[in-house]
Structure formats: structure tokens, C-alpha cells
Symmetry: C2
Subunit: 327 residues, 2 copies
């Protein structure tokens, strides 16, 4: 009988993306035929939950969508990828967060028009405190900030790790940072937020100010930095032929959590997460391209990287394969 406890609860951004592939960027006031359209769920938090779910964790999203067709799509999509939506709010009459993206096939540029809609984040008192106290980690991305802070206070107090994908310097984010134990900012965030000139100094500055358990500063294809009680060191990324980088960062965050909750130390969790992100990059689709645990381990093993045997995610790769066959 499966454990009904939720491993990771996420509060943050979920977005309906309509991505149209074009062979050139359109001129204003013209009509142009698009080559292909992909509707997909996006948003850092929701997508990281999908990655974690794909890697064997039980996950739940605790944000809000509107009761429009965008919201319905996002709800269905999260369910499809195994993310529990029973704690999700569907707001009557609200327009969900959505975007249209023009992907230029020739140049690879992405031009995005986004609209936050009229949807409200959950009020702090609407969050299911019992579910939060029972989870193994809380994942945040800086969106729906008041709800995120309230949930982080509950988890922090209960000794449950709070993980933050810090991508944008949103107003008020400094209120959240003291509650975060796994702080994973982009290099851009770390430099902008601290005003430091190097990622190393930014990591030291963030540690001194907020005392998280681990800081991982992500630098995209250059890998990144780890700072924890064992000091400051780098982790590597894996060079791959990139087919679609969409969702790679979110895959890293979801996979880091899967590794961490599977008992990995920060270095192993970063290697595991880098492998997951690299595999995702070689495949089309933010969510379709996400690997399972067995694929990440095989990817690392092929490169002579064996994770600490104590490190294991919740499902074995055999279970993954069985699940893959059922899809």
C-alpha cells in the first residue's frame, strides 16, 4: 500500500503556455502562418513538481488557477503528470496566468507575451496546514509570495526543509529568505540581490545573512556553486546536444529535491539534478522530456559517476520502467 504522505508540496507559479513555432519573427500588422503549436503547462514551481513526480516523489501543488480553459488545462496537465491537485484552488470567474510564446525556428529566439490574469494566490488562511506539517519538503519559486511565506513559516517551525528556486527579485522576497533551508538561486538573482560581483561572494553573502542549510547557485550550462557546512565548491554540468532547453532549470530543482529527499548529500544531489536537466535538454517538451530516476542513474553511470549507495530515490529504476510501460 502506497504511503499517502506527500513528499513535496509546491506553492508558486503555474502558467498556461501557447507556444507557436515560426520560421521568422513576424512583422507588425501582418499575418503569418505558424509551423507548429504546442500547448503546455509552465511555471517554475509547477514544472519542478512534475520533474520530482517523474523521479518518484509524491507531490502536490497548492496554488490557484481560474476556472477558465487555461486553468482547466493546467489542472488536467498536473494530474496527467502525477501531481496531486486536490489542494489546488480553482477561482470562479478568474482568468488564469497565461502566455503566448513565438519560438523562432531559425534563430532560436523566444518572444513571450505573458498575462498574469486576474487569479488570486491562496490566502494564507486557506492553506491546508495539516498537509503542510505532514510533507517532507516545501518547494517555492517566489510567486504567490504571501501564501508561500505563510507555508514556509509552518514548515520551518516543523523542521521541514523549505526549498526556494530564486529566479526573480520579487518585492518582499527578503521576508521569505530567512525561512529557506535549500536556497537555489540563479546566478543572476544572486548577483542582483546581493550586489556582489561574483557568484562566490554572492553565495557567502547569502549564507551569512540567511543561514540556509545549503546554497546552490545555478549557472546554466556552466554548472554552478555549492555552499554548505563543508565549504564552497563547484558542481559540473553535462555537455549535451541541446534540442529544447525549456524546463531544464525546473527539472534541476525538482531533481535536486528528489535527490535530497532520497538521502543524497549536496554534491550528489547536484550531479543527479544536472544529469536530469541534461537529459531533459536533449528532448522536446518541458514536461514530456523529463527523465525518470533510472535514466538519471544510467546517465551518471555511463560517465563513471556512481552516486553514494546510501543515496536512493523512493522508487527503484525497475519500478520506473514498470511505470513507463504503463504510460
Amino acid at each position: 500500500m502506497a504511503d499517502t504522505r506527500i513528499d513535496v508540496i509546491g506553492i508558486g507559479s503555474t502558467v498556461y503556455d501557447m507556444l507557436m513555432v515560426v520560421n521568422r519573427f513576424p512583422q507588425e500588422d501582418t499575418k503569418q502562418r505558424g509551423l507548429e503549436t504546442r500547448i503546455q503547462g509552465g511555471g517554475p514551481c509547477a514544472t519542478a513538481l512534475v520533474a520530482a513526480s517523474r523521479l518518484g516523489l509524491t507531490t502536490a501543488y497548492m496554488g490557484t488557477v481560474g476556472d477558465d480553459s487555461f486553468g482547466q488545462y493546467m489542472l488536467d496537465d498536473l494530474n496527467r503528470w502525477g501531481v496531486d491537485t486536490s489542494h489546488m484552488r480553482v477561482e470562479h470567474g478568474a482568468v488564469s496566468y497565461h502566455s503566448a510564446v513565438l519560438l523562432n525556428q531559425e534563430t532560436g529566439t523566444r518572444t513571450c507575451v505573458w498575462n498574469p490574469g486576474t487569479v488570486h494566490p491562496p490566502e494564507p488562511e486557506q492553506l491546508d496546514e495539516r498537509a503542510l506539517r505532514a510533507c517532507r519538503a516545501l518547494h517555492l519559486d517566489g510567486h504567490m509570495l504571501d501564501a508561500a511565506i505563510h507555508a514556509a513559516e509552518i514548515c520551518h517551525e516543523a523542521g521541514i526543509p523549505v526549498c526556494l528556486d530564486a529566479g526573480g527579485v520579487y518585492p518582499g522576497i527578503e521576508r521569505l529568505l530567512p525561512l529557506v533551508s535549500l536556497l537555489i538561486p540563479s546566478e543572476e538573482f544572486a548577483l542582483r540581490f546581493t550586489g556582489e560581483a561574483t557568484a562566490e561572494n554572492a553565495a557567502l553573502c547569502l549564507m551569512q545573512r540567511y543561514h540556509p542549510q545549503v546554497i546552490v547557485i545555478t549557472q546554466g550550462s556552466r554548472g554552478g556553486l555549492i555552499l554548505d557546512e563543508h565549504g564552497l565548491r563547484r558542481y559540473a554540468s553535462f555537455p549535451v546536444r541541446v534540442l529544447d532547453s525549456n524546463g531544464c532549470g525546473d527539472t534541476f530543482h525538482g531533481a535536486f529535491l528528489a535527490g535530497f529527499l532520497g538521502g543524497m548529500q549536496a554534491d550528489d544531489a547536484c550531479a543527479y539534478a544536472s544529469a536530469a536537466a541534461a537529459i531533459k535538454c536533449t528532448r522536446l517538451g518541458a514536461r514530456q522530456g523529463m527523465p525518470c530516476d533510472g535514466e538519471c542513474r544510467a546517465f551518471l553511470a555511463e560517465r563513471g559517476l556512481l552516486l553514494n549507495p546510501a543515496s536512493s530515490s523512493r522508487k527503484s529504476s525497475m519500478e520506473d520502467e514498470a511505470e513507463g510501460a504503463r504510460r
Copy 2:
């Protein structure tokens, strides 16, 4: 008890439009916040059916959509506006025709990326011949052409008027033209298709070649030309403050059919259709802004234009008002 006979059957374009209002046209490779998003049904044929339905006719759409969220939206939207969708095909696994439109609020420009999807028009043998033989008019827009030609042959043979909104010079359209009795091309189509230098000559050329009962060449805000057994003359448009011209042309076509089936002669039908289009222009939304019969008659009466008393659409304006109150 209402007549179950369908007044107008339409075969042609139906489109899912995602319209995003922006305060400037985006630069390539940037992210920009949109001001407002409107999802709406489009496509000349489907939108003309909505206009005719709003003016009191019973209408049915006989084209195809995919079973994706775009197709579901279009089906629901046609139902919402009173267009019978029981003859519509929903193709399993197909992507519906869709578009994204960026409307520049400052300049009024519309930049459209469209995608025909993978949906197939109905095969000629899939059309409900019995329904076609029982309708009072067939409305076409040049899309789904093989099905349209097959339906036009059935209606032509049965003496049922075939109306064509000729907007684009699509390959094969010349096969349809001999079957058309109410030919309503845009001026652009008429000039391009005939190679003539003036709309007058184009009208004469089209009449000589295809012998429709009436030709109406539309010239937008300049009104247009009528050519029938009574000769060539102009009809006027009504100057109004344009708020949203989207759907005005389709409203003209739907209203012309409503007038024609209500017993109006071509001149009255054009006045009635011009009034409907003008009212639509003063209101937001391609379909939301469409007037009812009473509004068109009041608009004309205010301008001292009384239609031939023999001309009456199927519903009185009192009925329209009663219906309006129910919405």
C-alpha cells in the same frame, strides 16, 4: 412550436483566436506583459452564422474541428450563440485551426500568427444531404472547398440559394463560382480574380462569367456595389465611431442573408447588412457586438430609412427584446 428546419447551413472556416492586447509590438527575444487577453471564436463562415442567428435565423455549421481544447471552445461558443452544431464533425486526435493575434493598443495594428492545424474538412460523402436539401440557404467562405462544392451542387440542383463570401483567391475557387447565386466578394477578391481595374468592371465580368442572381462587391467603409437584373448601382455604408472592426464583414454577410431570406430585395438587404455591420463596429468583440434585428431596424429608422414593409426577418423586434432579456 418552432420550425425545426434550418434556415442557413454554413460550410467553411472556424477558428480559435487568442487575442492579446499589448501597448507596443514586442521586440524579438524579449518578454512583455500583455494588457488583456480575449479568447474568441473566429472564421468568416462560423462568424457569419452567429450574425445570422443573432438576427433570428436558425443556422447550423457543417465543418470540422479537432477534439482538442480549441475545438471544444469553438463548439461551445457556436452553441452559446445559437448555431446548431449537431452536424459538426469533431475529428479525433486533430489539432483545430487556431491563431494568436497581437493587437497593438497604441496603433491599432493586428499581427496574426495562424495555424490551420491538422484537422480535415468533411469528406463530401460525410455531409448530411437531407439537411442540405431542407435548408433555405447555404453559406460558404471558400474554405473546406471540396465539401463546400459538393454541398453547393446539392443546393444548386435543389434551387436553394448558395451564398459565397469570397475573401481569398483560394486554388479551385473557380469550380465553386458557377454554383453561387449570391456572390459577395471583397473588392480585393473581385479585382484580383478578374484582373479588372475597377470594381464596376469586375462585377460585370463576374456576372458575365458565372451568372449569379446577385453580386455584391464590398468596399468596407466605402459601402459597395450591387449588380443584379436591375443593373449596377452603389449601396452606402453608415459612418460610425469604430471601436472594434473585428467581425464587421462577417456580420454584413450574415445580415445580408437574414435580409434576403426575410424577403428583402438586394438594396434593402445591403442597407440592413450595412446597418448591422455599423452597429457591430461600435461595440467590442466580434460576436458579442452583433446586433439583433430590432436594433438594425431602429438604426435604419433613425436615419429615415424604412425598409420595404414586405421585408421582415423571422423574428419581430419585440421577440428580440424578449430574447435579449433572457440572455
